[in-house]
């Protein structure tokens, strides 16, 4: 086991990793930017090192400064959290070449999963459907129409350089497709200086269901069941739950097996998530693989009882997985609401500011993961996540009831938050019936 780990991240995930270290008796070293000076979690570490000004490029994304801090603090491993350098293969390589273990997948698996084309190839080898589409960028509208006739309408015209849902248009027939290609190319040129567009089948009424996997360095790989993350706005997840209320047990089993096949085929090690789109018939397609611990990992921790961050650290230290697949069970139902500093009544405008009064719920079935306290400044430089509010109860109905109760107990002053949005969703009949899809939030709310 490592004796000292550097947490190359900030905010709630830094605190999460620090908590895992403390429970395992491992020393924790934190790095922080000037914007995070005074953060409460910095009092919990054995050493805290300021690595730069607020700008991520000069702090949390700065490999040289982080490695320098790791050497000065004499750590034997680095945990990258999520975001920032978590899926940066070059960073993982630099760590290992400096004799510092990187708590995450091996570099090769990380690179293969990060490459969309390679990931699709691995999926096909693992007998997993991928979303049909053009092989590369479209030459012109005629080619688009040919591909569309191949894969079937409706289709999505997507900008190659786009991301996070930007630069996408739906087309239902040849005429609207021609227009979409032309417009898409101009928009892409203007927004990304890259006019390449490609085509993908648009799967209507789709649900986003992902599977947590965990693999050690001894060839053992298991899944820890699924999380349903269908409720999204502009491809940002709002709510996650497990088990998924909208897939059958049969689909669930097939999905989870597919995720393990994908991880094995890629030679994956560590914790990772395989994301799928599931259509109303239960057919599922690979979306992508996230080679890191995810924001919503506590949902899985609650239903399976497995501490994923501790397992990440153990696996990286060379330990074998302490359980077999059949020992991993889903118990009860868990839901997570992401509470962000955004004004949900004004176009979800980010609401930076300083938190004043800060009361979060507790009691039976409630878990709160937050790095904030009164006086915490939500700065514009980083994401706006204030807290993850989770509930875990025996049934989905009971979980929703507890979440409603818990949301009503939230009292956060100083910044606008998405608590009102979550309260609306928890009271919505579509959500309660599990009748939502990835476009639902934008359509209905």
């Amino acid at each position: 086991m490592f004796s000292r780990i550097l947490v190359a991240n900030r905010g709630e995930i830094a605190l999460r990793v620090i908590r895992a270290c403390r429970e395992m008796g491992v020393e924790a070293v934190a790095v922080y930017s000037e914007a995070d000076r005074g953060a409460r979690y910095l009092d919990l570490v054995d050493e805290a090192i300021c690595i730069g000004p607020a700008a991520p490029a000069q702090s949390y994304l700065n490999i040289a400064r982080i490695i320098s801090a790791a050497e000065v603090a004499d750590v034997d491993a680095i945990h990258p959290g999520y975001g920032f350098l978590a899926e940066n293969a070059h960073f993982a390589e630099v760590c290992r070449s400096c004799n510092i273990e990187f708590i995450g997948p091996n570099v090769e698996a990380m690179q293969r999963m990060g490459d969309k084309v390679e990931a699709k190839r691995i999926a096909r080898a693992a007998r997993i459907y991928t979303i049909p589409g053009s092989e590369g960028a479209l030459e012109n509208a005629d080619e688009a129409i040919r591909v569309a006739h191949d894969i079937g309408y409706p289709v999505l015209v997507k900008a190659a350089a786009g991301g996070g849902g930007r630069g996408m248009r739906i087309a239902h027939n040849d005429i609207s497709l021609s227009q979409a290609v032309g417009q898409g190319q101009s928009e892409a040129e203007a927004a990304f200086k890259d006019n390449r567009v490609y085509l993908e089948k648009h799967i209507e009424g789709a649900r986003h269901v992902e599977v947590q996997v965990l693999a050690d360095n001894h060839g053992h790989c298991v899944h820890l069941w699924e999380r349903d993350c269908t409720l999204q706005r502009r491809h940002q997840k709002l709510i996650e739950e497990s088990p998924s209320p909208s897939i059958s047990d049969r689909t669930r089993a097939k999905l989870c097996d597919a995720a393990v096949r994908m991880a094995r085929e890629a030679g994956y090690t560590g914790a990772g998530t395989v994301e799928f789109l599931v259509d109303p018939n239960g057919t599922f397609y690979l979306l992508e693989v996230n080679a890191r611990i995810q924001v919503e990992h506590p949902v899985t921790e609650l239903v399976t009882g497995v501490d994923l961050v501790q397992q990440q650290i153990r696996v990286a230290a060379g330990e074998r997985l302490p359980f077999r697949q059949k020992e991993v069970r889903q118990r009860g139902h868990a839901i997570e609401c992401r509470i962000n500093a955004e004004d949900c009544r004004n176009g979800f405008r980010p609401s930076p500011g300083t938190i004043g009064r800060f009361c979060l719920p507790g009691g039976p079935g409630v878990r709160v993961d937050t790095h904030c306290c009164p006086g915490t400044a939500i700065a514009p430089h980083y994401d706006s996540l204030i807290a993850k509010l989770l509930v875990h109860r025996a049934t989905r109905d009971a979980a929703i009831a507890t979440m409603r109760r818990a949301l009503a107990e939230c009292h956060i002053e100083g910044v606008a938050t998405t608590v009102p949005l979550h309260q609306e969703i928890m009271a919505n009949p579509d959500f309660m019936a599990g009748r939502v899809d990835t476009g639902w939030v934008e359509r209905v709310l």
Binding site: G38, D43, I49, C50, S59, S68, V72
Partner: protein, 171 residues
């Protein structure tokens, strides 16, 4: 008491504080980086405070290198507390701070003399120390001119970004 034949001294009661003095005091504050200044003389009492003035920057002897392992408490909290205690007696002089994380070396090689010592005058491009980060030795320049008042870090000590290294008396 003034003799009736001599010109009467300026009566401070009519103009309790003259603007020229205030302006000179303000210049003095800016020159020395003071946030607050209080003067009491027989003829006047003045207290000037810059808007938004918080705790003064941590001072000379009080700053501990933020990376010294201490059971539980992060070094940065300790520095802020000690800075608060040392403050009243001294003026706040500007400091040269570390632009990176690494190991501080006072000299460019083990046998050489330190780059600067207390009392040395530095110009903006004077090399004041070397910081080693990831096996690369970086020469650190003063970026200010003045006299080295105090060296805050020991040789081969770990330093973090923004950590004060030297106190410089400007001029």
């Amino acid at each position: 008491m003034a003799d009736a034949s001599e010109p009467e001294a300026e009566a401070p009661r009519e103009a309790p504080v003259d603007m020229e003095t205030i302006r000179r005091l303000l210049d003095l504050m800016s020159e020395h980086g003071l946030a607050e200044l209080e003067i009491e003389r027989e003829d006047m009492a003045v207290r000037l405070r810059k808007a938004g003035a918080g705790p003064q920057p941590p001072l000379v002897a009080a700053v501990a290198p933020a990376v010294t392992p201490q059971g539980g408490a992060a070094g940065q909290t300790a520095a802020a507390q000690e800075g608060g205690e040392a403050e009243p007696a001294e003026e706040a002089l500007p400091t040269i701070t570390s632009p990176m994380v690494g190991t501080f070396y006072a000299a460019s090689s083990p046998e050489a003399d330190p780059c600067v010592q207390v009392g040395d005058h530095v110009a903006e491009d004077t090399i004041v120390c070397v910081i080693e980060a990831m096996k690369v030795f970086n020469e650190i320049r003063a970026e200010t001119s003045g006299t080295i008042e105090k060296v805050l870090v020991g040789n081969a000590e770990a330093v973090e970004f923004g950590q004060p290294l030297f106190v410089v008396r400007p001029g």
